[in-house]
């Protein structure tokens, strides 16, 4: 090894060491440690861990709440991603018409992206309030009865979805807008000359050409919703009767409220495996689906 190669090697190690040491300690090692803990019964405090083998996993698959929470999480992810992307793409096509004041529209619609989830959940809880809530002002003229969103087993999950859609539209919109702006104007001109209607132009040109963004937002949106915690924690605490409980919140409850560390670690590992599968599928699919 030349002097220079040696110097570069040490420089590389030194420069990346802080990042890699922290990643190893707080991201990589925890996967193995979670796998290890998932084989024990432990309350996180006592020095004694009781070995259970795969008991935690058996308990988990027999636990009706685990299945309910998994179902809720998938439902929230699916509806949130589909609804917010649909609206966001529509808004992006309108913004792309370069109307006056578009930067103001964009700034306001994007603003929930950077707003603390705790505050968002707080104001929406108040908006959902059955008697004096703002939502009642909108729903009453439409003939809806008084709805106690937060405390109803049938409405708590939709309430969570509404808030996630509301806060996520801006981000998707900005990404779609960037993708739309990358489409060469000549393509649209050609379509106009050929007499294509606006709808045809959208479905035949814009939609296929933003498909990399659609794909990216579907996957990242799905994974981000799987990981959502804040909104559920503040608005419903997963209730009533777990009707709005989602995976990470259930994990939190098990780990930090009920101190079922082993069981919670098993949940964490399942989440990890699930997200890894999605990521791998994403890598495979992106080669087939996306028009670049």
């Amino acid at each position: 090894m030349s002097v220079r190669e040696k110097r570069d090697m040490w420089a590389f190690i030194g420069f990346t060491a802080p990042t890699f040491i922290l990643l190893a300690l707080f991201i990589f090692w925890p996967i193995f440690y979670s796998a290890y803990l998932s084989l024990f019964k432990w309350n996180m405090i006592s020095p004694r861990k009781t070995f259970l083998g795969f008991q935690n996993y058996q308990d988990m698959f027999k636990d009706p709440v685990f299945w309910l929470v998994s179902k809720n999480t998938i439902l929230v992810a699916f509806y949130t991603v589909v609804v917010k992307m649909g609206i966001a793409l529509y808004l992006a096509t309108q913004l792309n018409k370069r109307v006056k004041g578009s930067s103001m529209y964009r700034a306001i619609i994007f603003s929930p992206t950077f707003t603390a989830n705790v505050a968002i959940a707080m104001v929406w809880t108040w908006i959902f309030e059955p008697t004096f809530g703002l939502l009642r002002v909108v729903l009453r003229p439409l003939g809806f009865p008084m709805i106690d969103w937060i405390h109803s087993t049938s409405h708590s999950l939709p309430a969570v979805i509404i808030v996630l859609v509301w806060s996520g539209i801006g981000y998707d919109m900005v990404l779609f807008l960037a993708a739309l702006k990358n489409i060469p104007l000549e393509i649209y001109d050609a379509a106009l000359v050929d007499g294509a209607s606006p709808l045809q132009t959208f479905w035949r040109i814009s939609f296929p050409l933003v498909s990399p963004t659609t794909f990216f937002l579907t996957i990242t949106g799905f994974i981000n919703v799987l990981k959502s915690f804040d909104i559920v924690r503040i608005m419903t605490e997963g209730g009533p009767l777990n009707s709005s409980n989602v995976f990470v919140h259930y994990l939190y409850q098990n780990a930090f409220q009920w101190f079922r560390t082993g069981f919670a670690s098993a949940l964490a590992l399942i989440l990890f495996i699930f997200i890894m599968i999605i990521t791998l599928v994403q890598n495979r699919l992106s080669k087939h689906w996306v028009h670049y």
Binding site: D8, F20, G101, Y105, F256
Partner: protein, 284 residues
């Protein structure tokens, strides 16, 4: 013929100018209304809060709601905690990201591609699965209820390192070469060449990190149990519980405490932040 063309022009004008405004205005109202509702509620009297249909703007503005909210819990302390943890988190995060980014952009090393894959893998792994192990590690270090407990587990940020690396790669090789001929080592080249030329992206990354750390809820919630170590979002969530028995007007006022710094940053730098998001995601 002339009338038909005129009609077509009017139709086209409506599609291209009027409909976008209506749609975007509607979206702006739907997104903006909760923010307005937060503000107007925070300024109302208890009587005005409990009316249906609600009043849109209070008869007399109750600024003292903010004083009451501030005094329900040690919000001054929460502010200090949030500022200290966000400041250290941002600065240390930037330093770690800059060094890693420079190494991946400019330093030749046999196993560089392998380590790059490791970084990518770390970005895929959801931090949520590491909550319990991280808590156990911090408990061993006796870092529960400390600033370093809130800050240190989230210093390494792969996203930031990739963003900066991407930018370092756009700096012309000739500049790096000139610095090397002048006898600068990697640390000096990074400090005197790469970083000064990357000020815009450093600024954007700084703002992202700040907003992310300021808004963080789950980790600070887990790693603090003493009231005087709570950050603002955790403290805000706390006062909602029954024992504080405060009205919606005070809860909304307290929510505004949390939002103000980020809103200020956002409105000063929204163009930079939004375009940074768009550019970062398109490049992957």
């Amino acid at each position: 013929m002339g009338a038909q063309a005129k009609n077509r022009n009017i139709a086209q004008l409506i599609v291209s100018k009027v409909i976008p405004h209506i749609v975007l205005l509607l979206a702006t109202v739907v997104i903006g209304l909760p923010f307005f509702w937060m503000l107007t509620t925070a300024l109302k009297s208890p009587q005005e809060v409990a009316i249906f249909p609600p009043v849109w703007w209070p008869e007399t503005i109750r600024w003292d709601n903010f004083v009451t909210a501030w005094n329900t819990a040690p919000f001054g302390r929460f502010y200090i905690n949030s500022i200290v943890t966000a400041a250290f988190g941002v600065v240390l995060g930037l330093i770690a990201a800059a060094f890693a980014a420079y190494a991946f952009a400019r330093i030749r090393f046999k196993y560089r591609d392998f380590f790059f894959l490791v970084m990518l893998a770390a970005m895929m792994i959801p931090g949520q699965i590491a909550l319990i192990p991280n808590y156990v590690i911090l408990a061993k270090l006796k870092w529960i209820n400390t600033y370093q407990g809130i800050v240190v587990p989230h210093i390494a940020n792969v996203f930031g390192a990739f963003l900066l690396r991407q930018y370092f790669l756009t700096i012309p090789d000739s500049l790096y070469d000139a610095a090397e001929i002048d006898g600068m080592g990697h640390a000096k080249i990074m400090l005197y060449v790469a970083l000064p030329l990357s000020k815009p992206v450093l600024g954007t990354l700084l703002l992202y990190l700040f907003i992310q750390k300021w808004n963080a809820y789950l980790w600070p919630l887990i790693v603090t149990s003493k009231q005087n170590m709570r950050t603002l979002p955790v403290g805000l969530a706390m006062i909602r519980s029954a024992e504080y028995a405060i009205g919606p007007e005070h809860l909304m006022a307290a929510s505004i405490f949390v939002l103000v710094p980020v809103l200020l940053v956002y409105f000063l730098a929204q163009k930079q932040l939004i375009e940074g998001i768009a550019a970062g995601a398109v490049k992957g």
